[in-house]
Symmetry: C2
Subunit: 449 residues, 2 copies
């Protein structure tokens, strides 16, 4: 159930009220009062014109934090309107993983200009993060990790920390490295806080946590955080040298995007912004409609092939959408099961065989049940037992086809490096439509011609 | 793209290999070596028979931690096979939010037996958590929060912490309360670590963070964590008294379930376990097929009403699936946009009007484009201009209907407290099928009869 209670979106409600009935300064006053995350949510939950209005009403100091919380596509729209100097000023306040994210998406010329206007230190930091694609651990990490040596005692560590004015966000652990800066272990802050001041880091550190390789995919990083309830995790290069760390806040974004992705692309939608304008939305939807029109025409051609039979027994025209739709529904169920299992990282050579077999058995059982039910309905409706037997045959064939195709298509598409969530549905319904119409009308043609 | 690289699932691969070619003790040796989270993932990614095998091979000490990481439905299957005493022993090792989760799902008699076998202290802890449903903040929270008073100095706080042998997981902040145990503010551990030992908590604590009300929905809790990058958040009763705290690890589970939910129920699947047996799966799928059969028969009745017309112009039978399928596709796009926006908490009275209007405009544009394209195709295919004009009319009507219905159905269903992801698709395709067939065949009957 979607929650829309008043309490649910207090910040949003206050700004919405101010936008409706207040002046610009009323809105600005409310904005100054709520968190950057809430402002970012509010902006991304607004139509484009309201977004610009909200952005101009922001305090200058809020801009960097709000940008940091915005989804990539919306953030880049705002950045594109700023001068490189203004962008450089904003990103100097951000974590380097976020900066890498931003620079990854800007045109190369802008990136160079921005890198040029940074201090050498900042540039070095960002260049490490920029050297990895943004869908692997290296692209998600930031280099702000606090590192210590194993031979220090706890009170030395505490004194060392106190020399900082501010520790990095989400510092749940200090990373223990050796003199070559290779990863050795983690010292959880909560261990530090309860330890005897005189014991050494070596005695208390945890060494069982494997660090993440910088080339681990973002999806896999998300699954490991999720499974092991991590707050942060060290990232190393192939030699074990510490490169940085990934924190849960960035992982949560990956989890959300991962999950939203399947839902969006299965319907032929982009997985980005919901609030695109009419003129941007219409062509994007049109492409999906075009692809589906092509498959619908293919299915229609099968029907056209049996026009004579339909002319003789018009009941076939009445019943044929039932055959196609039952196949489509059953196939989509099998398809979605496999796509879910893939998204959750549950597919391996043992489980994929088990799942495909299960889907086929289920489709045989449901094929038999619904063939019988629909046969009885059709035979009574048109007072024609032959018609009942023909549709029974078509339903069995189509539901079993749906089970096989629905379960195996995602596996095949994935091996071909085609996104199963994107292409699976179209290919599947083409198969179930064509097979359904052939099985039904083909057998009917044999009996009635 | 689903990631299936070798590195991705090292733990899984090792156990899978051991299961295939090793003895039971090989498997047990690998299991002893990997994290509870990975074991739980492995169990939930296995068919039922392998699950039991893995469970029996677990070390006794691993059981509680693994159970804690398992999805509810699988966890309860294992618990149902244990004696209440064994369950009591396991849950005494868990956080109280997890225990509440478990007890919520067991039969009342078992819950009472387990509560009876606990110490008074444990029982009190769990009863607070048990008094809230598990889909609100109160049901997600644990009562293990560390609280301090504002008038303490930092070094007193550090000494107080050192008296503990172990701090609760995910302690990123200490919660500051007054003498009535009302929430006052948060002292981040990273502030504590860098502060002068002599300053007071009051000077350094953050008071701008609003606590969560215990009745805030789990969905809203997840969105606030996500937006504000929280690691933990205090939970209070209506009087502002501190009840406990929620930590990010439990919120990540909510985010994953929330996202998976729409995907699963839109296909008429339960949103639980992927690896249900054939005999458990078939009836569940059958229900969805039954509902869809009912709607397909409704659509077929519309066709049956125009049998005479189809007998005269059999091209109508060939083309009618195109009208229905274009409407279904366009409608599903609008529907999915609204369901995504709801899941992301982006719906309010301003945005819902904007989105419905956008969907209607988009459907008008695409209705006109595809009406023209399909009209030309139909007119050439059957050498019949009238037929082209009739299908053009039907496509425009059906795509606009699809846009209106797809965008407004989720809003209507949500107000009726019906899950839009579950019911939306069925209702929508019923509408687009019926409207499509009526518009196409009804007008055709007028011209050809």
């Amino acid at each position: 159930m979607v929650d829309m209670s008043a309490q649910a979106s207090l910040a949003v409600t206050r700004v919405t009220d101010a936008l409706r009935s207040g002046t610009a300064s009323d809105v600005a006053a409310v904005l100054a009062d709520i968190s950057p995350g809430d402002i970012a949510h509010l902006i991304s939950s607004s139509p484009p014109s309201t977004r610009d209005e909200l952005w101009t009403l922001l305090d200058h100091e809020q801009e960097a934090d709000v940008l940091n919380e915005l989804p990539d596509d919306i953030r880049n729209t705002f950045l594109a309107e700023l001068q490189p100097e203004a962008v450089a000023e904003i990103i100097s306040q951000l974590d380097d993983d976020d900066v890498a994210d931003i620079l990854h998406e800007l045109p190369q010329a802008d990136t160079d200009k921005i890198l040029g206007s940074l201090t050498d230190d900042d540039r070095d930091r960002f260049e490490t993060a920029l050297s990895y694609p943004d869908d692997v651990a290296g692209g998600l990490m930031s280099t702000d990790a606090l590192t210590i040596r194993a031979d220090l005692s706890m009170d030395v560590v505490l004194r060392y920390l106190r020399r900082h004015t501010r520790l990095p966000e989400n510092t749940d652990s200090l990373i223990v490295v050796n003199r070559d800066y290779k990863y050795v272990g983690l010292l959880p802050v909560r261990t530090l806080l309860v330890s005897d001041p005189h014991v050494s880091v070596r005695e208390m550190m945890k060494t069982e946590r494997e660090p993440l390789d910088a080339m681990t995919s973002a999806d896999e990083v998300a699954r490991r955080f999720e499974r092991n309830d991590w707050i942060s995790a060290p990232v190393v290069d192939p030699q074990g040298k510490l490169l940085g760390r990934i924190t849960i806040d960035d992982v949560v974004d990956v989890i959300r995007e991962q999950a939203d992705h399947s839902l969006a692309v299965m319907a032929g939608l982009g997985d980005g912004d919901v609030f695109t304008t009419v003129l941007a939305t219409a062509p994007q939807r049109a492409i999906w409609l075009a692809i589906n029109l092509a498959t619908a025409i293919l299915a229609a051609s099968v029907i056209a092939f049996y026009q004579d039979t339909i002319e003789k027994v018009v009941a076939l025209a009445v019943l044929m959408p039932i055959v196609a739709s039952m196949g489509g529904i059953a196939g989509t169920q099998s398809l979605t099961v496999l796509i879910r299992a893939m998204a959750m990282g549950q597919i391996n050579d043992r489980t994929e065989i088990w799942l495909v077999r299960r889907e086929i058995f289920v489709s045989i059982i449901n094929g038999l049940i619904w063939a019988f039910v629909i046969a009885v309905i059709a035979a009574y409706w048109f007072d024609d037992t032959t018609l009942g037997l023909i549709i029974a045959f078509a339903i069995i064939i189509n539901l079993i086809t749906a089970g096989i195709a629905g379960a195996s298509l995602p596996l095949i598409l994935d091996r071909l490096r085609i996104d199963p969530a994107l292409a699976g549905g179209v290919v599947l319904t083409t198969i179930t439509d064509v097979v359904g119409f052939f099985a039904f009308l083909g057998v009917a043609a044999y009996f009635y011609n």
